[in-house]
Symmetry: C2
Subunit: 376 residues, 2 copies
């Protein structure tokens, strides 16, 4: 007997099967080539603090026990660090998870979310996945167009606005005054979802001060970037207590793994190591910028752990990504105009940067500005 499959919900049935990212492992399996430089996912090749590694190895010894769903110790440590209440926080398996949680909590099917065209695609993935509607505002001067984003939020009666600051994939950043003005320019009953995954690389003194009591704002943080723990999956959201409590009604209480919790606690305490990574990344950005200018690929100003280079055209950007992959170097390019004329490269270790410079000097001349395919 043939059984009729149970149909998914109308929302799920209407979704495309495309996924936001093809992983480097999948690219390796497709090409049969192992990347010697993995500079495409903005992971920290400096790794986590040695103290975090030690804590994570120790956590493995008690992996048979579910982790504390409240993440009590980490919660207390983060609250102290940020000067907020432990109740003004919720954990997730990285910012990807938290984006889904916020969208599910605040966006009913048919309601609108606003983001920049070409911004972090996983936000869009969740908006679509929960039946929301997306309004995308093009980048302007290779950064988020705050004025146009606020205007779009008014025009489309947006419930949610997504802003990454520092931004991915442009690397751009706005200091406190502009973020505050943006917040004030949004419509009433519109929530700003501020993705601060890269905030550790931006000037701390000019950052929007921490205040988790503003009901117009949820801030997202992660241990995947500066803390070097992308594979552990842990991030957190900061916002008013009652809003964080709403997440408690639907989130996966036992979702955060023990290794991530213990590692994050140790990583957080090792401020010296974080400063070391941030300093090294700043130096690497300078080196990348110099290299870009040398090769005629203008570097966009970056406040992150990557540099986005202007190659002049989408065709050239695409050809460069492919040519670098041929040389076993994994980088990415933004997917939407006008920034799809760029390539985005993670700042690696000193050794990796040196290899990268070598490969770039050999590769870029084979793909001149007017070429659409490599000459070789």
């Amino acid at each position: 007997m043939i059984y009729r499959p149970v149909p998914p919900t109308p929302i799920v049935a209407g979704l495309p099967v495309t996924v936001p990212f093809v992983a480097p492992e999948a690219l390796q399996r497709q090409s049969g080539r192992v990347f010697r430089l993995r500079l495409g996912a903005n992971e920290s090749n400096f790794g986590p603090s040695p103290r975090a590694i030690e804590a994570m190895r120790a956590a493995v010894e008690q992996i048979n026990w579910y982790a504390d769903p409240e993440g009590y110790e980490l919660r207390e440590a983060l609250a102290a660090r940020h000067g907020v209440s432990p109740r003004e926080m919720v954990f997730g398996s990285g910012i990807d998870d938290l984006l889904g949680l916020v969208v599910r909590t605040y966006l009913s099917p048919g309601e609108t979310a606003v983001t920049s065209l070409g911004a972090y695609p996983t936000f869009n993935y969740h908006v679509n996945g929960y039946g929301g509607t997306l309004q995308r505002v093009p980048y302007r001067d290779d950064r988020n167009d705050l004025e146009a984003l606020a205007a779009a939020a008014h025009e489309h009666h947006a419930k949610l606005v997504y802003l990454a600051n520092p931004d991915n994939p442009t690397g751009s950043w706005y200091p406190a005054a502009q973020i505050r003005a943006f917040l004030d320019a949004l419509p009433e009953a519109c929530l700003l979802l501020l993705d601060e995954a890269y905030c550790d690389f931006a000037p701390e003194a000019e950052m929007l001060p921490m205040d988790a009591s503003d009901p117009r704002l949820i801030r997202l943080r992660t241990f995947s970037k500066a803390y070097g723990m992308a594979g552990a999956r842990i991030g957190y959201a900061l916002g008013p207590t009652d809003m964080m409590g709403a997440f408690d009604r639907i989130c996966l209480h036992f979702g955060i793994n023990r290794v991530a919790q213990d590692g994050a606690l140790a990583a957080l305490a090792d401020t010296a190591y974080l400063a070391l990574v941030v300093g090294e990344v700043a130096q690497g950005r300078e080196e990348y910028a110099t290299l870009g200018r040398e090769l005629g690929l203008a570097p966009l100003p970056s406040y992150t752990n990557f540099v986005t280079f202007d190659t002049g055209s989408p065709e050239r950007a695409k050809a460069l990504v492919a040519a670098l992959a041929e040389r076993a170097v994994f980088i990415r390019m933004p997917g939407a105009p006008p920034i799809d004329r760029c390539i985005r490269v993670t700042v690696g270790t000193a050794e990796e940067r040196s290899v990268f410079a070598e490969v770039m000097r050999a590769t870029v001349p084979t793909i001149p500005p007017d070429a659409t395919t490599p000459r070789s």
Copy 2:
């Protein structure tokens, strides 16, 4: 200026703030007492395979990289183990995560799911969380009442039916023929969600054979129980390729952490260790059953890594849980009648079982069948 909070969606706004479980860590913080026996969450106190521990410690060294979102190697290994296609599978951060994924994919707001009254509460949590309606069928003779569950599915036009086999919290189990008959008794276009978290402890020869092509059935497995990796958060669902593909449209692609993936792969390969744990658990169940009979607490037949004891009344069960907590022993009791007259105890190591027997012999006589509070 006071800003009006952005309201959550009607579904989320209507949910209670209660969570399915209070964790042992929270109980410890409340009481100021550290449990010397942790036998309340059906974790494996035997721990994972030493090979899995080694793999997880090694994975920490590359924790700065996101894990392969396809889980390619683990997927291939599991497909080979179960004799299914690698595409007939989706990973989640444990079965809790997968329950949410299935409910979100198949249950539109207002649609009905059927489960046993007092069965695993996280399924209910997700049904409520996605705006579904629950119909609960009481246990009969301390096991799932398959006939009544099928009848309820027909009566309420259920889209989803949840069945844990082996069952938690009763420990009961149905062999293949009865599960197959149950599946055939369900209405058309109704999906059976078969939670097999404890399947490694049940008689393998009598288990429903693996066949992931039946569109009426999704089976859920985990590395949290027999494999001893609850703190790592990894489980998987098995079902037809197109149904698993639907999950790909909404699931968190980078959600499974690297330690869990690598640990699961190594754990899966160590079949000898799994057999050892399963054998030890079987012996422990016998010891618990003997102890229960000695103390007048009839043990329910168990096909899991825990034993559920009949204390005679909900009052006595509650008093026993409290009295054991006073003696720093963490166990749980089922929350709904008629099985709330029981206590549920995880099978621990030989040493833990010996301590548990001692504590029970000292505790149970202080709470006679007609007592509602401890005498001491």
